[in-house]
């Protein structure tokens, strides 16, 4: 399991975490490349069904951040 690279879907709020991620990029902070970002206008937009759909499509984890 040493070289297992998980696929993680991240639902990021446009105004909070997405901007935070943007700032992390601009400030050249390093973070793991495993997340696949989905930008949403509000983390309240994330339906539990989105999360199930992601798991059905074979992701290993989901992060919802707002």
């Amino acid at each position: 399991m040493g070289d297992f690279e998980p696929k993680i879907v991240a639902f990021l709020c446009n105004w909070c975490a997405y901007a935070g991620a943007d700032l992390a990029g601009v400030s050249r902070l390093q973070y793991p490349p495993n997340i696949r970002t989905v930008r949403v206008m509000c983390s309240g937009r994330v339906d539990p069904l989105f999360i199930l759909e992601a798991f059905k499509d074979g992701v290993d984890g989901v992060l919802v951040s707002g």
């Binding site: 998980p6 909070c16 539990p48 798991f55 992060l63």
Partner: protein, 153 residues
């Protein structure tokens, strides 16, 4: 399935450092849990999807604010905590019903084989089957070797 596969975190737009920490922590946690085998959980995922997409739960969540602030149609007041206990029990019930529905759909058509498939006890299965019949989701199709057999509609 492992609830630790889903993470929720609050990061403000100014907290780039915190975002990096969160992503690192989540990635390490998922790495530790290993690969998620979606095929092995296809059955449970289908039942969970049907539960979350179902109108019962959506209706309850949608009415929560109204019922906990103004009261229900009988004028009864509910506090948030007791309403959430009800939602949890409805969630469990709907999920169990959908597990049964899914089992019948996959060809496990009598109470005993459903019990073998999903591990719910026999009386609970019979009870929920009656509910599924009432709401027109499954039907009783007859007896086979003196066992009642069901089919999905």
């Amino acid at each position: 399935m492992g609830k630790d596969r889903i993470h929720l975190a609050w990061v403000s737009s100014a907290e780039a450092q915190r975002f990096v920490e969160v992503v690192t922590r989540v990635t390490d946690s998922i790495k530790g849990q290993g690969k998620f085998d979606s095929k092995a959980f296809a059955f449970e995922l289908a039942a969970a999807e049907k539960t979350l997409a179902g109108e019962t739960l959506r209706w309850m969540v949608g009415k929560e604010v109204k019922i906990t602030t103004k009261g229900d149609v009988y004028g009864r007041k509910w506090d948030k905590k007791s309403f959430e206990i009800i939602i949890d029990s409805v969630l469990e019930r709907e999920y169990q019903k959908n597990l049964i529905f899914q089992a019948i759909k996959d060809g496990f058509t009598s109470v005993r084989v459903i019990n073998k498939k999903i591990g719910l006890d026999l009386s609970r299965i019979s009870y929920l089957l009656a509910d599924l019949e009432k709401t027109g989701m499954v039907e009783f199709t007859g007896m086979e070797e003196s066992k009642p057999v069901f089919a999905v509609l």
